[in-house]
Amino acid sequence: MEVTAHDILLIGGGGAGLRAAIAIAEANPKLDLAVVSKVYPMRSHTVSAEGGAAAVIASNDSLDEHAYDTISGSDWLADQDAVEIFVNNVTNEMLRLEHWGCPWSREPDGRIAVRPFGGMKKERTWFAADKTGFHMLHALFQTSLKYGEIKRYDETFATRLLVDDGAVQGVVAIELASGKIRAITAKAVILCTGGCGRVFRFTTNANICTGDGMALAYGAGAPLKDMEMMQYHPTGLPQTGILITEATRGEGGWLVNKDGYRYLQDYDLGKPSPAPVFRSMELGPRDRLSQAFIKEMEKGRTLKGPYGDYVHLDLRHLGEKKIDEKLPLVRELCRNYSNIDPVHQMIPVRPVVHYMMGGIATDVNGATPIKGLYAAGEAACVSMNGANRLGSNSLGELLVFGARAGAAAAEYAAAAQAPSSRLLAQAADEEQRINRDYLNRSNGRERIAGLREEMQQAMEDAAGIYRTRNTLDEGAAKLAQLKQRYGAIALDDRSLTFNTQLTAALELSGMLEVAEAMIHAASRREESRGAHQRTDFPKRDDQKFLAHSMVYRTAEGAPRVEFAPVTITRWPPGERVYGR
């Protein structure tokens, strides 16, 4: 087995991973670092982000207001020290990215332009047309090429963390092109593997968003925090789930039901006005808007389509010029995937699984409770987003916490000991397991696609926008059964060359673990907060549940759920008010 050694490994080459890598290369050029990614970095899902990234720059805005919007948006589940660090640093990070070439959209005088976004009291969302994530990722990736110290293992799939003496010291990974299994050791590992939207059937997420890093950390004993907090974005295209950015509403779009009525006004989100009003109506927070859709559906006021119920997003009053200038990708997506032109027709939309607020538990420096293991980005839960993330806060999170995790890991690695040789036995074990349970297996019976679809449907049924004891219990039982059936997984493809069926099978194994963690966390949180809504516990309960759920993997059966306190600094829990 080929063994290579580095000082620091980044698993995942998206926004957080690349930012962390650059941070390490700048902090300590003598450190040997490598990015291990199952896709080429420019394919990472950061590329699909559309609307923008928030950071305070307007003179009438303040860091405290950004913090308050984020904390109230999170339904007070966010750790306020993390939020303060975020708002204090995100503007500088975004300016740094601008210096690195990111083509932010501009005001006529050349200054960075900002647009309104959901849940934000002021305009502070920077944007690059409506391809913000694409431009940010490409700026980061291309800038990372400047640093010769950053080595890359492209299309290399990490299957297991190497742990010795209570510290993470590397990974075992499959080099896709050759099928070769390698052991890559390091003094520190940073997981930047993104979210897990693909545990659901209908999601904005790309195929690659399978929670690999969450499963790796979970398997190594790290807790997953707030996994019940899965955000439904209010406006996805039916059938495909492709994201229609919140910027459509920031620029003035309206959500209307089958009667052409702007229904959000019935849900304590303010009164309609022609132009967008901050923190009101269509610029309310995502969880409230998605919940409003469900209520409208129950009242029979949504439209019925071949792919489920939907409502309309009306952009016609924005005009062609504004749409082409500020929302060109939206127009392209609607034409390609919905056969409509938003300049002349309303866009059919419905809530769609989009973002995991929860993730691998970390502190404000990206450190997990396991020595040598760090995490940043959507894979991590610092927690900055609590029970509901505001739109345009996640791209900035990649930069701020990617940089911090990189710096922290660099400091740790500079002082840490070289990995032990005992790791090779673990790595050899892993190679044997992959060969035995997947490539050379002859008695498998379960099809990957079959199990995956059943898992996705189970999650839709159990952990949708509204959950209840019954659905969650059924979901938990179903997932336990699926995990057992996974033991008999069968592969058609035994090739060593670019075996994507093998990686799909490995991803499914991780997804089943992550999905189970989500269901159990949702089951234990007996209140409604943010994106987690229980019909059997409809109120927020700060007495018992102003706390983070922490899910730990157990060797036998169901995971163990504990609760950890939320860090409150300057904003005592209050009522979330929008539109008033």
Binding site: H99, R106, Q142, A206
Partner: protein, 247 residues
């Protein structure tokens, strides 16, 4: 509308095959299904060994470029129904070595991407503003379209020059190089010129223009290359007439 369509998918497994062959699969023709959906149906339900790259399924990640009925397409944006009655021939991108089935080795492109120095270059000692560089919408517009490249490499597949001479720097790398030259914040044009104004740089291009025809993001790399030729020529004359480096 018909309810089925046949795909002929190029197959190659180095462990088994000496050269590529085709396998036929019949897939259901759902409304709005793209070629990518059909490939996923084949992999999930019919033949798990069919191998291809994909990720975002919304035309932004650049993973799923292939040749469909002889033309370079992003399979996530290519409607099945457009090819009725079929069959649809799906092949890997041209001019790159085939790793497996529809997956090609893009390491040559990755090397070229890096070679053109696609990052903001500032002269030594040049001041950086405290806040943002001021860049007007007009200044942004000069390079904007060249920044839209998703690295899908349809242009390399469509370019016969790259096919005949793999040393050619190629369309996407050239467009990216120009994107930085034209960015008002960048001062690295001369450094990039060393790479681009070579015989296997922009001068290899014979203006066939197919790269711009197939580009799914309207980057127009052919225009970028010709713009580059003009600026390379101007730079050459300037160096000739003002060798002491006038500005």
């Amino acid at each position: 509308m018909a309810d089925k369509i046949t795909l002929e998918v190029a197959r190659f497994s180095p462990e088994r095959d000496d050269e590529p062959r085709f396998d036929s699969y019949e897939v259901p023709l759902h409304e709005n299904w793209m070629v990518l959906d059909a490939l996923n149906y084949i992999k999930d339900q019919l033949d798990g060994t069919v191998t291809f790259r994909w990720s975002c399924r919304m035309g932004i990640c650049g993973s799923c470029g292939m040749v469909v009925n002889g033309h370079e397409r992003l399979t996530c944006e290519t409607l099945l129904a457009d090819y009725l009655p079929g069959p649809i021939r799906v092949e890997p991108l041209r001019h790159f070595p085939v790793v497996r089935d529809l997956v090609v080795d893009i390491s040559d492109f990755m090397e070229k991407l890096e070679r053109v120095k696609p990052w903001i270059i500032r002269e030594a000692g040049a001041p950086e503003p405290e806040r943002e560089f001021l860049q007007t919408p007009e200044q942004l517009a000069t390079y904007k379209q060249y920044s839209l490249c998703i690295n899908c490499m349809l242009c390399y597949s469509a370019c016969p020059v790259y096919g005949l001479d793999p040393h050619f720097i190629g369309p996407a790398a050239s467009a990216l190089s120009l994107r930085y030259n034209l960015d008002s914040r960048d001062q690295g044009s001369e450094q990039r010129l060393d790479v681009m104004a070579q015989h296997d740089g922009v001068w290899d291009c014979t203006v066939i223009g197919e790269c711009s025809v197939v580009c799914p993001k309207e980057v127009d790399p052919s225009l970028a290359i010709q713009e580059y030729k003009i600026s390379a020529t101007k730079a050459w004359f300037k160096n000739l007439l003002m060798p002491w480096g006038g500005k």
